[in-house]
Amino acid sequence: MTDHGETTRKGGEIRNFGTQTYKVVGTRPIRHDGTDKVTGRAVYGGDIRLPGMLYGQILRSPHAHARIQRIDTSRAEALPGVHAVVTAADLPDTTGGRIDLGEGHADTKYMRDNILAGDKVLYRGHAVAGVAAVSLHVAEEALALIDVDYELLEPVIDVETAMKDSAPLLHEGLTTTELNEDTGRKSNIAMHIRHEMGDVQQAFAGAAHVAEAEIRTATVHQGYIEPQNGTASWSEDGQLTIWTSTQGSFTAQKQLATILDIPVSKVRVIPQEIGGGFGGKIPVYVEPVAALLSRKTAHPVKIIMTRADVFESTGPTPGSYVRVKMATDASGKLVASEAHIALEAGAFPGAEIGAAAMCVFSCYDIPHAVVDGYDVVVNKPKSAPYRAPGATQVTWPVEKVMDDLARQLGKDPVAFRLDNAAAEGTRRVDGIVYPRIGGRECLEVARDSDHYQSELSGPYRGRGMAIGYWFNIGLKSAVTASVNADGTVHLVEGSTDIGGTRTSVAMQFAETLGLDAADIYPSVGDTSAIGYTDVTGGSRVTYATGWAAYEAAEDVKRQMIERAAILWESSADQVEYSDGVFKTRDGSKSADFKQLAQKLEDTGGPVVGRATVHPDTGVGGSFAVNIVDVEVDPDTGKVDILRFTVIQDAGKAIHPSYVEGQMQGGSVQGIGWALNEEYAYTEEGRMANSTFLDYRMPTSLDLPMIETIIVEVPNPGHPYGVRGVGEASIAPPPAAVAAAVENATGTQLNVLPLRPDRIINAMEDSIPAAAG
């Protein structure tokens, strides 16, 4: 059993590689929205209640693959209390196209088909019809009265089968796009991409050591605790208002406008507090159905998914099949690598294959490399981003091969990785040349850590380590800042706050103006109250929205200097501001921020700072390293995590506690992915474990404390050196845990999750070899 005796091993460490020290940035204030969230006051999407509100429910396909022959809603419509039923026939019929979702793209026809199935259902859980009724229970009863005739079709639920020529096709019209050209060939393979550099064949031919791995990973879910929800009110003047828990109110607005074929100006999205997302709350699901029902009934309509709906019809992360081969010269320098990555997109194209191809060899300097990536549709829910989407699936195979090569070379795994670590100037296979990055520093800190230096002994115990990467994104953010008469500032940002970013953004604003974090009152604006802001995803909020806050603070500073000049009958160029005090250059007049704020009415009225940013260069990627000790029960195959350390490059940690929180949360999701979590399917393609009881996410009892070491290698592309930290931490845990289990048991494993039965089987298989 996991030892919970020792509670305070080393943790909370920060290792600085050249970042500055600041007054607010780097401190740990209590989050601004904290009190509302510990008292139950915070309003989440599901908490919305409007006058006359109806409750919606969605009928979902019981089949993985079928043609809809007929839908008869008349019995449901006749049930007392039912106000309306909608089907795909209520959706506008427009031609396809693509829209940008910030983290990924979507084809509009596919988006619409995913909201309510057209002629076919493509996965169990696929929405078929929506009902609005006076109560949840009446709506539920009405679902049973909707008659749907299905012609069953053969499902295909794994990527390897789906890629075969003989596989049943999901979409009649889908043809493979091969290296950017439409082949016209009907297939479940939506896309094949390739990155290549150097002469891979020749490099392998001349290599001294070669290793390969072939890995399969299961479909897993983001597992946020709050189910998807949406409340719609479509008023008689054509204005649609949506209250929802979303990672991007503007992205939701764009999707709703596209799906419903109305102008974006007709859609107002009011983002509520959001109970976790991890990428899964970028797509809309129930909101358009609630909107259609609201239009049809002239009432507000609220829909909340059940947990089974969440599992069976919202984006899981792709299951995968990945082959990796790598080689070194005699000295242990990597010379060549190749990867074949096939990801399950789910029912519609759009697995994060591009991201997977970017991340696969991202930790290393390899002169000759080729990556082939395949985006493949299967009869599962359409996949959605999940924390560093695509990176986790490719990190284990690479790290397994790296461990194999280290063994062949007789080198320590960390030392071998350090010998080959990517650094500033390294060219990645997808063409990116790295700016300053912190991968090497993370490995050095791991090597020198108390954990790595400690002894691990005992039967069936083993240690593993791994490194993973996520590139992070920049995208667009807007911030406005209104100076109050008491010298505080109301800050409005467009980024929905999933994990404390109001505070990390406000802290950067406060730092720039020399104010305290508590002087800033941050809030998240709706789509009518703030400029366009991209999704909370790609680890971008503290980076990009924080940068917008920095610029907005500079704007406030400039305006306040002008006010001081008016007050003192001076000119702006004669006023300076530092450490929270405005003063004339001759030193004759001075006022602190609060004093000057009181004079705004006399000097021209309110001061409102504003900024929009769109950083497309300078986004700093982040590396995460894990060290993990496990013990395997030889009788049951159960794995206990004895000790776990995560080391991650944060650039500059704005609020170290929330950086640690990201590192710990991502690590534990990765541990769940490694050990427990998977979609179990029946032969008919039905998910067999769509409850939290059977889809087994880690509980507090399964885990030790998660030790953290923040590595600060400043990002030169940000005013405070920030790198996004939200995602990289999920990439290495399966690799590190698998290595530890292999070391503990003397086995080789190649399928996630590392279920007890798989471990026992591998141990039994390895007995003759061990004996011999």
């Binding site: 919970h4 005796g5 509670t7 305070t8 740990r28 209590i30 929205d33 904290g34 009190t35 969230k37 510990v38 008292t39 139950g40 006051r41 915070a42 309003v43 989440y44 599901g46 908490d47 209640r49 949840l136 229970h137 597992g223 946020y224 605790i225 709050e226 189910p227 507090e273 959001i274 109970g275 976790g276 997302g277 909340i304 059940t306 947990r307 999933i498 994990g499 404390g500 609020h655 506690s657 929330y658 640690e660 929180g661 990201q662 710990q664 949360g665 690590s667 534990v668 999701q669 409850t691 939290f692 009881l693 996410m697 880690p698 509980t699 507090s700 009892l701 885990l703 404390m705 998660i706």
Partner: protein, 156 residues
């Protein structure tokens, strides 16, 4: 469907409500009485987001019917703080950054209070065992466990 008249005490206040026989305590708390601090995560007793106490016993409010709380006392997250301020557990959750999205937080607070009422000095293992019925997907539990240890005064 005729409704059932229920009298109970919620967070110290005598309360009465009408409910259908099929309505869970969670549904009535949230949809009829406005106690939306109690969250719904799964509606089948596996996530703990809807944790409340009934006569001091920690329960998932989605697993009992509203009609069952006749003459009983119900405690929700809204009852933790008082005019004097936050409950020590609430304060420690804030200081330790024990919440990210916050959806599981009410359930963890109610469950943690029930733990400390039953066992004022729990070990880390006892805390992890007690809280294993509450799922958190954001934090990895580390900072939650530290907050409870700190609130209990048993932090090592």
């Amino acid at each position: 469907m005729s409704k059932i008249h229920v009298q109970c005490t919620i967070n110290g206040e005598p309360t009465e409500f009408l409910c259908e026989a099929r309505q869970s305590l969670l549904e009535v708390l949230r949809e009829e009485l406005g106690f939306t601090g109690t969250k719904e995560g799964c509606n089948d007793g596996n996530c703990g987001a809807c944790s409340v106490t009934v006569d001091g016993v920690l329960v998932d409010s989605c697993l009992i019917l509203a009609a069952e709380v006749q003459d009983k006392t119900v405690g929700t997250v809204e009852g933790l703080a008082s005019a004097e301020g936050l409950h020590p557990l609430q304060q420690k959750f804030l200081e330790h950054a024990s919440l990210q999205c916050g959806i599981c937080t009410p359930g963890f607070l109610v469950a943690s209070k029930a733990l400390l009422d039953a066992n004022p000095n729990p070990s880390q293992h006892e805390i992890r065992h007690w809280l294993a019925g509450n799922l958190c997907r954001c934090t990895g539990y580390d900072k939650i466990v530290r907050a409870v240890l700190d609130a209990a005064g048993t932090a090592e």
